[in-house]
Subunit: 329 residues, 2 copies
């Protein structure tokens, strides 16, 4: 049995969606058990009527708008803090929450703890690529400023994650920059480039700089950047998708022809939106802590909770933490 602690209070859609997702995950994976953290009236009745579910009562909730580190310190009885502590104590093997990214990052760093040698945990996710190849993107926002040696660890952790999640052996890595030439980059990016080249040596996995246009191109297995640039790029992807779909919607309102076209194209447009939503993998993995911690979207769905819980269990079974530790040792 693999036990994943799931935060019932994560996500903007309310605990019902999370509990539905847990049920779906339990149906899909007979070797899964769930420790569900949240208020007593939510988690106790849910656990009572299910064999493979235990309740972890937590009286507090950390909201999306709260200051992450402050909230984690102040709310020791929150579903996020309790969940991370349960992983630390061995009550669960991994943690899934669609709550505040910053709070999950802070709580996991503090209570699950960093893998020995890891300077800073980072957030990574698989993004779809036009070529058909997925790309692991890291860091997605945890470390606004990242020193060169941190970027090297993001590459190493990203390679381990690419192996576990996508089955890629010897993943290629590119550094996000403002041009593909070696001479391009901010001072920080140039320093990161040099550190990556040195860490790679003759091994060949470091492919140099890439551009923003490569993120969804499927040209590299892993793309690394600092959390500031990573966050801007990800939000820009979301904003661009919203813009394009919004404009199509606007055209539909003005023309019968466009309306008919959009109706016929709807399955395709929905498929693209789903691909970009990241729901397939259930969220973003926090790499560098001593157990798999998966962060779902705030606007999460039953499907995303199911996929996130299952992905977290898979990461436990396939030894993500050991793979990450090997890469950086």
């Amino acid at each position: 049995m693999t036990t994943i602690c799931v935060d019932a209070m994560g996500g903007d859609e309310g605990p019902e969606v999370v509990l539905d997702g847990i049920d779906a995950a339990l149906s899909a994976d007979s070797d899964l058990s769930v420790l569900v953290s949240g208020p007593e009236d939510v988690v106790t009745p849910f656990a009572a009527s299910r064999e493979r579910v235990r309740a972890l009562v937590a009286s507090e909730v950390i909201g999306m708008g709260e200051h992450p580190a402050d909230a984690v310190r102040a709310k020791r009885d929150s579903s996020i803090v309790r969940g991370c502590q349960a992983v630390r104590s061995g009550d669960a093997d991994g943690f899934f929450s669609a709550g505040s990214t910053g709070a999950i990052f802070a709580a996991a760093t503090l209570h699950v703890g960093r893998i020995r040698g890891i300077k800073r945990p980072a957030i990574a996710s698989a993004l779809p690529g036009l070529s058909g190849r997925d790309t692991i993107f890291c860091d997605m926002g945890a470390n606004a400023d990242a020193r060169p040696e941190m970027i090297v660890q993001f590459a190493q952790m990203g390679r381990a994650f690419s192996h576990i999640l996508l089955g890629v052996e010897d993943a290629s890595v590119a550094l996000l920059s403002n041009g593909s030439e070696d001479t391009k980059g901010s001072e920080a990016a140039l320093a990161a480039h040099a550190a990556l080249a040195e860490a790679c040596g003759d091994a060949g996995w470091f492919k140099g700089n890439c551009e923003g246009g490569d993120i969804l191109a499927g040209r590299f297995d892993v793309i690394v950047t600092d959390g500031f640039t990573g966050n801007v790029a990800l939000k820009t992807i979301e904003g661009t998708a919203k813009f394009i779909l919004g404009r199509v919607k606007g055209a539909v309102e003005q023309s019968t022809r466009a309306k008919l076209g959009a109706g016929l194209l709807k399955p395709s447009l929905k498929a693209v939106a789903a691909e970009l939503s990241g729901d397939d993998y259930g969220g973003a993995m926090l790499l560098g802590v001593k157990a798999p911690v998966l962060i779902g979207h705030g606007a999460t769905s039953r499907e995303a909770v199911k996929n996130g819980t299952l992905a977290c269990a898979r990461a436990v079974r396939e030894g993500l933490v050991d793979k990450v530790a090997q890469q950086v040792s």
Copy 2:
């Protein structure tokens, strides 16, 4: 008469497209004259048969792949260097080229010269917004590292450009960051935030941080960032559009239903692509030099050359340079 120097050798499509675009601009604007720079066999016959065109013979061409500053130093008789010198000497009032952004930036900074008080010129463009409001985005890539006082000037220049290009009085400005809260940002972004708040004082135009998702939302008149982040964001927008349209194309190849839908939606999809291409404004403006210098896309069209030449002439007539100088003084 307003005279714009147009680089016949700019753009991947060859000089014919540029010359076609010049003809279109001349037809549209009877107070426009053009100084066309390029090889003798291209520009001399073209000028000979047209009243409002003069030839500026330049024997060299700077390619898209060349090191910008080196090429500008080495190729003194290139169409870009000659064009910028013609602006400096008063032979033309502004310069339009769809050539290498870096080379145009280097040549204009060196030969057109910076406006007094400007620390570094920057590249700005109007991006469409979902709300219907356009947003000036600056810096789009000229300055990979930008000190806080440079970001403040990008804001001031962006406000002047917003006034000239879009007619916005008292443009609002936001700083691109990894979160909208004041506390979010890399060290550089936090310092830029503080400098912008101080420069704005009680004037109210500085609206704080914004996220990547705001770039195409049409929430702010101006969004400022360093050239590294700006380049990554812009390339990410292009890559996302390419991904979405590529996926739609893929669906079309697999289903008759999707094919029919895409056919009917084609005008709408083309309109979105055109909006995102920036062809409406003909390119990106180099702000902070002593004359309007407009940089077109490499993959430029007749329409883009026409719009770029006309936009450059409009910027001359409406006193862009004086407005920029006033903002920073």
